[in-house]
């Protein structure tokens, strides 16, 4: 078994050292966004099952204001997660017992910004699904099915130049699997500006779609 795997001593690799820690940590943390997306979905669809969305509008806020209050929730969740990742990153980086200075700490912190964008766009996408379906269970199923089944199938059937810019790939490509470099394969060490622009574009598009859904429906 051991001879199938290249012989690497992980302890010698700077996985948790500055500046690698930012890229590696945000990549791992990215997987936890699904759990937080469930909070967004539950919060939105509960507003419909309790009739409180309807009541909020009756009490005098506009549909646009209501939507932005939910985007506010997405923003808060993304912000707190990002702050948590920054704190954990500093703790891990400093605990490696390696001499650090500003020149080694900050270089890859663009991945922290990318992580924030990744989360907020993903949460807005979850918000859009919940508004579209108005049912917690259905929205969660569609979120998972699209993320793990539909888009991968779609990706295989179109050329890379297109599949890289499908919504989930766009978000995921902000931080691609970083650990292969420790096996000797070179990887991107900077966030792709093009992917970042596409991700923000998707975020705006999902907000616009959400607004159109909310505006056209009877609550």
């Amino acid at each position: 078994m051991a001879n199938d795997v290249p012989n690497i001593d992980l302890a010698l690799k700077p996985i948790l050292q500055f500046p690698d820690v930012w890229q590696n940590l945000t990549y791992i943390a990215g997987y936890f966004k699904i759990i937080l997306a469930l909070i967004v979905i539950t919060s939105v669809s509960n507003e419909f099952s309790y009739g409180t969305a309807r009541q909020n509008i009756i009490d005098g806020i506009s549909r646009r204001e209501w939507l932005f209050s939910k985007i506010g929730l997405a923003k808060v969740l993304a912000l707190y997660s990002t702050l948590l990742v920054i704190v954990i990153g500093f703790i891990l980086g400093y605990s490696q017992g390696v001499q650090v200075d500003t020149a080694t700490i900050f270089p890859r912190m663009d991945y922290v910004l990318a992580y924030f964008i990744e989360l907020i766009v993903y949460f807005i996408y979850a918000l859009f699904l919940a508004l579209l379906l108005k049912r917690t269970g259905l929205s969660i199923i569609l979120l998972l099915v699209y993320d793990f089944i539909l888009e991968p199938i779609l990706s295989w059937s179109v050329p890379d130049s297109i599949s890289n810019f499908l919504p989930m790939s766009t978000i995921d490509n902000l931080n691609t699997f970083p650990f292969s470099k420790y096996l000797g394969n070179p990887i991107e060490a900077i966030v792709s500006l093009e992917q970042l622009v596409w991700a923000v574009g998707y975020g705006i598009a999902f907000i616009v779609f959400s607004y159109l859904i909310l505006k056209s429906k009877d609550l």
Partner: protein, 299 residues
């Protein structure tokens, strides 16, 4: 008088079903305006459009002569359909949240809790409330922010007789303070007891709009019977003040035209040699008028 609400040709279609068909209404400050109609006549649809949760297919409306800006609803206390609150928050927290939405500086939440009789359970989670408690909390919520107008959809729905009496008394108390009330109901008795003005809807169409008093005027009915019914019918049809004659289980039910009195009819019958065995004058009720309106408009 200041116009509180005007609607012009409001219509709502659900597919081919016309839930609301060109409804035009005028509500003036101080009115207690009842929207009366059987189930499915478009009452809730109307209120839903006026409160911004249902999109009208066509037509327009205006609150306080200022249009339909979302923020105008902050001056409206509204209870639509059923009480909607966050189940994991208690009554007080729910009210505080609504006060926040309505931008109230000093919301007087405790005062409204007293008035609507929710003080006993206001600290319990909304999820544990009974139907009556929910309805009372919803009424407390509508009173927050000293509204200029209350919009109530079937306000006594689901309440026990005591609760119904309380709510009616509350509505009258509010109306006496000069606050305009717009309420829907399928309970004729309720509208008759509480409202000054009424609009009668059927299948989304307005059959009548005006004062409750003028709807009831001239609606008195007279029941007459005689040993000789054939002769009675003949003589009755000769009386010029007759609006309508209806034959009913051995009696005639007669409605008189405006300006004719029951006493005129009885002396007319006696001078024409009818032996009257039964003559009873029945005060008009909204129920009779309502059924009359509905039967006149049977499509």
């Amino acid at each position: 008088m200041q116009k509180i609400l005007t609607t012009e040709n409001l219509s709502k279609n659900y597919g081919i079903l016309k839930a609301l068909d060109k409804l035009s209404l005028n509500v003036t400050k101080g009115d207690v305006f009842g929207i009366l109609g059987p189930n499915g006549s478009g009452k809730t649809t109307t209120l839903g459009i006026l409160l911004g949760v249902t999109n009208a297919t066509s037509g327009s409306y205006s609150w306080f002569e200022k249009g339909k800006n979302d923020h105008l609803r902050k001056k409206i206390g509204a209870l639509l359909d059923k009480p909607n609150f966050y189940p994991h928050l208690n009554g007080f927290q729910n009210l505080a949240l609504i006060a926040d939405i309505k931008d109230l500086k000093s919301p007087k939440i405790h005062e409204k809790i007293e008035i609507s009789g929710v003080s006993k359970f206001v600290n319990r989670k909304f999820g544990t409330y009974s139907t009556g408690m929910k309805q009372r909390l919803a009424l407390a919520a509508t009173l927050l922010g000293e509204p200029e107008v209350l919009v109530l959809d079937e306000p006594t729905n689901g309440l026990d007789p005591e609760g119904i009496a309380d709510v009616r008394e509350l509505i009258l108390k509010i109306a006496n303070q000069g606050i305009t009330v717009i309420m829907s109901s399928h309970l004729l008795d309720e509208v008759q007891k509480v409202c000054t003005h009424v609009a009668v809807l059927k299948s989304g169409k307005k059959l009548y709009e005006g004062q409750v008093q003028s709807l009831l005027a001239g609606s008195d009915g007279i029941e007459i019977a005689s040993d000789n019914m054939a002769q009675l019918e003949k003589v009755l049809s000769g009386f010029i003040g007759i609006e309508q004659i209806e034959k009913k289980q051995g009696t005639f039910k007669v409605r008189l035209k405006d300006g004719f009195k029951a006493s005129e009819l009885s002396s007319f019958l006696i001078t024409n040699g009818i032996d009257i065995t039964h003559f009873s004058h029945q005060k008009g009720s909204l129920e009779q008028e309502f059924l009359h309106l509905l039967s006149e408009n049977r499509a």
